[in-house]
């Protein structure tokens, strides 16, 4: 039996993730790729998850959706979607949520569509998996959806194969497919990474419009702080499988706490003012899940590490803003100024 959870309230978070931990079986010992990740997504909110490649952004979302391989992956923690604990749901019931209530937009539109079917067929397939609707009705709906996501000439596009579309058009088709059942939650895994800059802007516009028109919540995975600044209501910064900082977009941009976040912010080129000699970068590479350092995982790359960093860092909390770091609040502005310059410190 799935333990009952209190009745959902419209203002309650639509998704609550608590203590999510994911580990993979490997040739040797199992490695833990995601450790103790917790966050909420409120209705109509855009939550952005940022981090370098390999920080566990995608894996955590796939495990929420139950799309990891159960033979090699073990997931623990709690994921409550609309008051239902979905990690424990049997596959049959999870399938009813997947695609209908939670939809996924994949990273690379080039490979996200099955090459041998038309996009119309692939959209209609999803609609028909969740609603009893005629083939013709599903097709009509697919044409409408393609129009809604701004694909020109949708009644013709519906019969195109993926390889006949450009990257931007394909991503729109993928988004149309994700929207086909009016999901309450959209999970977009780096939806713009593989696209041209101009197309990126269009796709981001589209996502924003969706939130406005349909009231969908969106989880937006990205490694681009620019995208985060443009889109996010709240931000989750992940590093080496852990949430190192989380807060509202204002908190993260105006008063970032974690040195890793500072590094990410410093890597955005400034739009105004003198161009810096060179952009700041975070030296070194992130650890692999198999050889995490003891204590703070970021410590080896951190300019500000001191003795306590070899121990597991504490989580500072203040008004929904959290960070996993030893640096005491009073030292933050001073240290941060050495990375980001003075003007940004303390909003």
């Amino acid at each position: 039996m799935i333990p009952p959870v209190a009745n959902p309230d419209p203002t309650d978070p639509i998704l609550r993730v608590g203590g999510l931990t994911v580990s993979f079986a490997t040739d040797r010992d199992p490695v833990t790729a995601i450790r103790d990740v917790s966050f909420d997504v409120n209705p109509g909110e855009i939550l952005s998850i940022v981090g370098e490649s390999g920080s566990g952004k995608t894996v955590s979302l796939l495990s929420i959706l139950g799309l990891t391989d159960p033979r090699t992956t073990t997931t623990s923690g709690s994921v409550i979607f609309k008051g239902k604990r979905i990690l424990e749901l049997p596959d049959r019931e999870m399938r009813r949520i997947r695609g209908r209530e939670i939809a996924l937009i994949s990273q690379d539109p080039m490979t996200a569509l099955t090459p041998v079917y038309t996009i119309g067929m692939q959209i209609a397939e999803q609609i028909r998996a969740h609603q009893s609707i005629s083939r013709r009705g599903a097709r009509k709906r697919a044409v409408e959806l393609l129009g809604e996501v701004g694909l020109p000439n949708p009644s013709e596009m519906v019969d195109r194969f993926p390889h006949q579309l450009s990257g931007g058009m394909r991503q729109r088709a993928v988004i149309a497919m994700a929207l086909s059942c009016n999901p309450a939650l959209l999970v977009a895994d780096e939806p713009t990474t593989a696209l041209d800059v101009t197309v990126q802007a269009q796709v981001l516009d589209l996502l924003r419009r969706l939130r406005k028109d349909f009231g969908s919540s969106i989880i937006l995975i990205t490694h681009d702080m620019g995208v985060v600044g443009e889109m996010a209501d709240r931000v989750l910064v992940m590093y080496a499988g852990r949430v190192v900082e989380s807060g509202t977009a204002e908190q993260i941009f105006d008063d970032p706490w974690h040195p890793y976040t500072w590094g990410l912010l410093a890597s955005i080129p400034p739009l105004r003012g003198p161009r810096p000699e060179r952009l700041a970068s975070i030296s070194g590479t992130p650890p692999t899940p198999a050889n995490l350092p003891p204590g703070c995982a970021f410590a080896p790359r951190c300019r500000f590490r001191f003795e306590p960093c070899s121990n597991p860092p504490p989580r500072y909390k203040d008004d929904g803003h959290t960070a996993l770091c030893f640096i005491p609040p009073e030292d933050r502005p001073r240290l941060r100024a050495t990375v980001l310059g003075g003007e940004r410190s303390a909003a």
Partner: protein
């Protein structure tokens, strides 16, 4: 598109031409022996050899000899055997062709069904005991020479266990035409089909499993699962459908090769008078004109099968269609 077809057609013709030249050179221009003596057969009289020389124009230059040969194979179709005293070769080949086709088409049916079932089963139950066991059996199947398996099946069904209920139905070796008795036709061919298909069931099962496992790493499978489709639908409609493309290529090559002579040993072992057995018997009597004819006809079939694969390709892979 038209250009592509034309190009493909030209390539086909070129390969056919190349094969005929190669076969011609092997038989007529190998250093060391007189082709006339070879064509005339073992211990032929000097008169026969002289007749062959005149008949095949062997005293004229090689290109003319080649032209004559091709004319007799395809235009006048009056190539004759000297070993079998004037027997027309082409009708013999044409009579044998349906038997080979029956054998290969039936076996192909078995191995396609068997291979797909095996591959799907193993991929769906990946890493389970059934997967490992079926892949091990498949590998054993791949390692058995088809003709020897045929012999073993003969030993079991014709001799050792012929008197038991299990194999009492097995008719004597040899081919029975379909039109005279379809049931008999089926019974005579069933064991040859199994013997020929075993290797390919193993092969195709392994290839398909590997393709499916690979397909499951693809993003579009993740998309399909994220859409909320059932595992069966993801496996069949998305993974299998895309994995079929390399599968079809293999099938075309193997089918062509089997019709073009690879089934020879199975025909010999089961006494089926197809093209392969015809070649084999001609080999025993050193009847060169027959071998030349079967070689060229068979290779043309291979070329044609390969071209057919290209057509099927266009039908199943939309990516080829557009460009």
């Amino acid at each position: 598109m038209a250009l592509t077809i034309l190009q493909r057609l030209f390539q086909m013709l070129f390969v056919m031409f190349g094969i005929s030249v190669l076969a011609f050179l092997i038989f007529f221009a190998t250093p060391g022996a007189d082709p006339a003596a070879r064509i005339a057969g073992r211990n032929a009289s000097p008169e026969t050899v002289a007749a062959v020389r005149a008949n095949f124009g062997l005293d004229r230059p090689l290109p003319i000899q080649y032209g004559l040969m091709m004319k007799r194979l395809f235009v006048t179709r009056d190539l004759t055997s000297f070993v079998n005293r004037g027997q027309r070769v082409i009708p013999q080949v044409l009579d044998a062709a349906p038997i080979t086709l029956c054998l290969v088409v039936g076996a192909a049916f078995f191995w396609l069904v068997g291979g797909v079932v095996l591959g799907l089963l193993a991929a769906a139950l990946r890493d389970s005991f059934i997967d490992k066991a079926s892949m091990a059996i498949a590998l054993v199947g791949v390692s058995i020479p088809a003709f020897w398996l045929g012999e073993v099946l003969n030993l079991v069904s014709q001799s050792r266990f012929h008197d038991t209920w299990l194999f009492a139905w097995v008719p004597a070796l040899g081919y029975k035409p379909f039109w005279s008795d379809p049931w008999m036709w089926f019974k005579t061919l069933l064991i040859p089909w199994i013997s020929l298909a075993t290797l390919y069931i193993g092969l195709y099962g392994r290839v398909l499993r590997a393709n499916l496992v690979e397909a499951y790493q693809e993003d579009f499978i993740r998309t399909a699962r994220a859409k909320g489709l059932s595992p069966g639908r993801v496996l069949i409609k998305h993974a299998l459908r895309t994995s079929l493309i390399p599968f079809i290529t293999l099938f075309g090559l193997d089918f062509g090769a089997l019709v073009g002579g690879q089934a020879l040993l199975t025909e010999v072992v089961f006494g089926l008078n197809g093209i392969g057995r015809l070649t084999y018997q001609s080999l025993q009597t050193l009847d060169l004109p027959v071998i030349l004819a079967t070689v060229i006809y068979a290779s043309f079939f291979v070329v044609m099968a390969n071209a057919l694969v290209d057509v099927v390709y266009v039908l199943i892979d939309p990516r080829v269609r557009g460009s």
